[in-house]
């Protein structure tokens, strides 16, 4: 144990960064299996059947919001990597705002969904579980981004210390990747 602690303490920064990245990618892979299981359950239970009451336009709109948030998350990471503190703070704040806007869209969709296909129905069960699970990830992403913005307000993230930004932003992009598959699965396929 002591040897491991000593090794970690004296680990080269590049080595540590590589280890951090590998750990995050393993976490993302495990999360992917969860989303894949839920998407598979939707097709297993319902085939390609879809509710006619789904608001596809709203689904498309919140997709665009989430994709735009990914652009700003990328810009935040790039700004931190190049030491642009103002750019980092502005892009992170915009990403948070877009994440919250996405969640407002989900709430609107849930209000409509509850009227037409409540969770007690087969379709409602698949819809609310999948969207709810994803929305929870968006929520945790927003919290992580807000923490990043708070911690980074003194300009601590820069070219030599951008792993926290990279890690949170990677997680945010993963949430976007999951939605890229959830959106057609729930809103478009029939």
């Amino acid at each position: 144990m002591a040897a491991v602690t000593e090794h970690l303490t004296h680990e080269h920064p590049a080595e540590r960064l590589r280890t951090n990245r590998l750990g995050l990618w393993l976490f993302i892979a495990s999360e992917s299996f969860l989303f894949a299981a839920l998407i598979s359950a939707r097709y297993y239970l319902l085939g390609t059947e879809r509710s006619e009451h789904l608001n596809q336009a709203l689904g498309f709109a919140i997709s665009l919001v989430l994709l735009t948030s990914s652009l700003f998350a990328y810009r935040a990471e790039t700004a931190a990597r190049f030491g642009d503190q103002r750019g980092f703070r502005r892009a992170t704040a915009t990403t948070i705002a877009l994440g919250l806007l996405f969640m407002v869209g989900v709430v609107l969709e849930w209000r409509e969904g509850l009227a037409f296909f409540p969770p007690s129905t087969l379709y409602g069960s698949a819809f609310f579980t999948l969207v709810g699970f994803h929305a929870f990830h968006v929520f945790t992403g927003v919290v992580a981004l807000a923490l990043l913005l708070f911690v980074g307000r003194d300009g601590r993230f820069g070219p030599e210390n951008h792993w926290p930004v990279e890690g949170v932003v990677k997680y945010w992009h993963f949430v976007d990747v999951a939605w890229v598959f959830i959106f057609p699965t729930l809103y478009l396929v029939k």
């Binding site: 652009l71 810009r75 790039t78 190049f82 057609p184």
Partner: protein
């Protein structure tokens, strides 16, 4: 003052991010339009979702860092 190569590197990274974003929006819009007009939707949606995920994984999440050493 920032070094010229740093400014240039940041500019090209931002431009790349914007280009990927435009590609994602276009693919998403095509997906939405195809869903209104085409049959065999599961196949079409899969064909359109995979490139979107690949663009995000490659350019935004830098998945290549897993097997390639990079300075950042």
């Amino acid at each position: 003052m920032a070094k010229p190569e740093t400014v240039q590197g940041r500019r090209s990274a931002m431009a790349l991010g914007t280009a990927v974003f435009v590609a994602l929006i276009v693919l998403d819009a095509i997906e939405f339009v195809v869903a209104q007009v085409a049959g065999q939707l599961l196949l079409w949606m899969t064909l359109l979702a995979i490139p979107q995920a690949a663009l995000i994984l490659w350019f935004y999440m830098h998945i290549r860092q897993l097997w390639r050493e990079e300075a950042h």
